[in-house]
Each structure stands twice: as C-alpha cells, then as structure tokens.
C-alpha cells in the first residue's frame, strides 16, 4: 500500500508532502494560512505563544513554530508553501528561510547558490550512494 510514497524515502534530505503528512500537518498548515491576513500577523507577532495556544496544533508543532525549526515543522506535516506564511510574517525571503534547513549559514548558502547551486552528486539516492 505504501509503495508509491516509499520510493521517495530513498532521496536524501527530502520529505515529499504525502496524503499522510497532509493529515498530520493539517492544523499546522491551517495556522500558516491564518497568517495571510494582516490582522492575524499582527496578533501573532504581539504574542506568539498566545496565538498558537488558540489553535489545535500539537505541543510539538507549536514549539517548532516558536523555534522557527523548519525541518521539524516539515517532519510534523508542514509543507513549505504553507510554512512560507510564517517566514513572510518574519520578513524573511525564501532564500533566508530555506538556508536554515541546510545546516549552512546564510552567507555560505548564498555563495553555494551563486556558484551554481548544490551539486546533484551524492544527493540522488541513499541506496545507490550517488
């Protein structure tokens, strides 16, 4: 039953947003959508914890948001285009936010991109090691 989804797990450092993850991340992603309204962004910025406590998110999900830990948010069912509403609220660009998931600092990440991006070598398949 999981054959379609399972094959993506062979790709290093990648989580595709499956139907299962969509269910797990439902409340987290709904919270993100709420930040599409300016008034909600203001309320969130004024008191993040209070805003999050009004949602049905899990404690883990809330903590990951407070920590701006995007890898954990993705593990807990978040999807990057939803999560973008959080870093947009913070005034960050995609580049700035995305770099935080790579273990590189923003300057090194930016330099890597300016030099043609992350090379595919070694990032294709865990099994094949290529």
């Amino acid at each position: 039953m999981t054959s379609y989804t399972a094959e993506f797990d062979d790709i290093p450092g990648t989580r595709v947003f499956t139907a299962q993850r969509a269910k797990a991340g439902y409340e987290l992603n709904q919270f993100c959508m709420s930040l599409m309204k300016e008034a909600n962004r203001e309320r969130f910025k004024a008191d993040e914890r209070a805003y999050l406590d009004q949602t049905k998110m899990s404690q883990e999900q809330k903590q990951a948001v407070l920590d701006r830990d995007y890898n954990t948010m993705i593990d807990l069912g978040g999807q990057i285009y939803f999560l973008a509403k959080i870093f947009a609220t913070d005034g960050l660009s995609y580049l700035q936010a995305v770099s935080t998931m790579t273990g590189m600092n923003i300057d090194d990440y930016q330099q890597m991109m300016l030099h043609g991006g992350r090379s595919p070598e070694g990032w294709r398949s865990i099994k094949d090691g290529n």
Binding site: Y4, T5, E7, F8, I11, P12, G13, T14, R15, V16, F17, T18, A19, A22, G25, Y26, N29, Q30, C32, M33, L35, M36, K37, E38, R41, Y70, N71, I74, Q79, I80, Y81, F82, A84, K85, I86, F87, A88, T89, G91, S93, Y94, L95, V98, S99, M101, T102, G103, Y109, M112, M113, L114, G116, G117, R118, S119, P120, W123, R124, S125
Partner: protein
Amino acid sequence: MARITHGLTTSHIPAVGAAIDLGKTAEPYWKPLFAGYDWTKAWAKENVPDVIILVYNDHASAFTPEVVPTFALGCADQFPPADEGYGPRPVPVVQGRADLAAHLAEGLILDEFDLTLMYAMEVDHGLTVPLSLVYGQPDAWPTRVIPFAVNVVQYPPPTAHRCFMLGKAIRRAVERFDEDLNVHIWGTGGMSHQLQGPRAGFINTPWDTAFLDRLVKDPDSLAQLKHLEFVREAGAEGIELVMWLIMRGALGPEAEELYRFYHVPGSNTAVGHIVLQSVETP
C-alpha cells in the same frame, strides 16, 4: 475559430516578483536574470494574444489544507492578487475570459478530464510573477488570462503523461471555440530547485538543459517520466515541471524554438525560460 499559436515557459520565483516590485532589477544580483527576458519583452509587445491560458500552481494561497484540486480552471471575470504574508503584490487585477473558460470547462470534462471549476479565486506569485517578467509594471495587463492551477504541492501531483494529454485536449477544445482568438499558453514553475530539508539548494543544470531540448523536440519521451525522476533529478520542487508538459501538449506535435534563456540562481532556483511557436501540421 480560436487557435493556440505560441507557448512560453518560465520560472515563477517569488523573490523575482519582490525584486520587480521593490525596483531592484538593476542590482548586480538581479541584472543578468532580468536581461534574459529582454528579448521576450520586445517580442511580447509585438505579439499580444487575446487570451493567455496560464498554467501554474497555487502555493497555499487560494487552496487551503481543506481542499486540494488536481486541476482547477479559473472561470471568473477577475482574479485579485493574493496576500501571501507580505501583503498582496502591487500588480493589476487579472482579467479573466469567462466565455472561453466555460467552453474549456465543457470541452475538457466531456473529454474526461475531471476539472474543478473556480468561480472566485485569488492568484499568487505562481501566476503574477510570469506576467510581471513578460509585461513589466503596467497599470493593467495587456491581455486576458485564464488561470489553470495544477496541484504540485500534495503528492501525488498529476503524472507527466496526464499533463501532456491535458495539453492536447486543451488544444482540441480551443479549436472548437467559434470566435477568432489568438491564444497563448504558458507553463510556469521549475526548473530544478528544492526548498526544503538538508538537500535545499539542489540544482541540476545538465538535466535541466536536456529537459529543455526534449521539451522542444521530443515531448512524448518527457511524458513518460515518473515523479520519482523529477524529484531525484530536479529537486523536490522541480516537480513543477510537469506543468510545462501541459503547455507543450497544447502546441501540437511540432514546435519551433524562438528563444531560450537559462540562468542560475534566481533565489533558490534554476530559471528556465523558453518561447515556442506551434508548427501547424495538416
């Protein structure tokens, strides 16, 4: 009768929209990227279609976690820009073409494509950044636009094959429309990029280049690609490239390449831009 004469692909990077909106296009980082669209801007000025069918994906703007349509056709008269968290982009409201959209809805559903019809929809950078790249910053867009949103956010997206078949069906449906209309079709998103996890920043220039070549000359072979290959070779968000096959299918069997531009980086992404002309076959 209406005809699809040209196709165009382009990345739809949000930072590119921000660079335009904030007047940064002449900065050293952005200059080479925008220069790559100069040819197209000049060409587009001389070749304004009556309607663009603009294939794009919504990035969690119009579609909430509650409703995930595979294919959504914009049937409204107007489509306002969405607030993606930075406030709505300062761009004109997109003017639709409801009569042609209604005709496409009928033709495509009878052709067994299981569309979702949208009578009210906001459009995000996936749709507005390509318009800005080609038409700049006008007070009103110079043409009508029918938004066609494809799910590439939740897995599985439609297959490359399904997208290619849809393109062919769009061509058939447009040609059954009574009015003489010049229609262009755009495919947006891609090329290689990944916006998540330790693998973020992934770029695969050789694969992208081969994809562009095959898109022009051998789209049938691209239609056989599996999702796994897109993610493996073009990054998690490179899956957006399935949408380009809708564009290509709608141009008919043969297409001539008028212009090509490829550039790394645009923010996290490889920018791919190509302009094609349909070669009518009898």
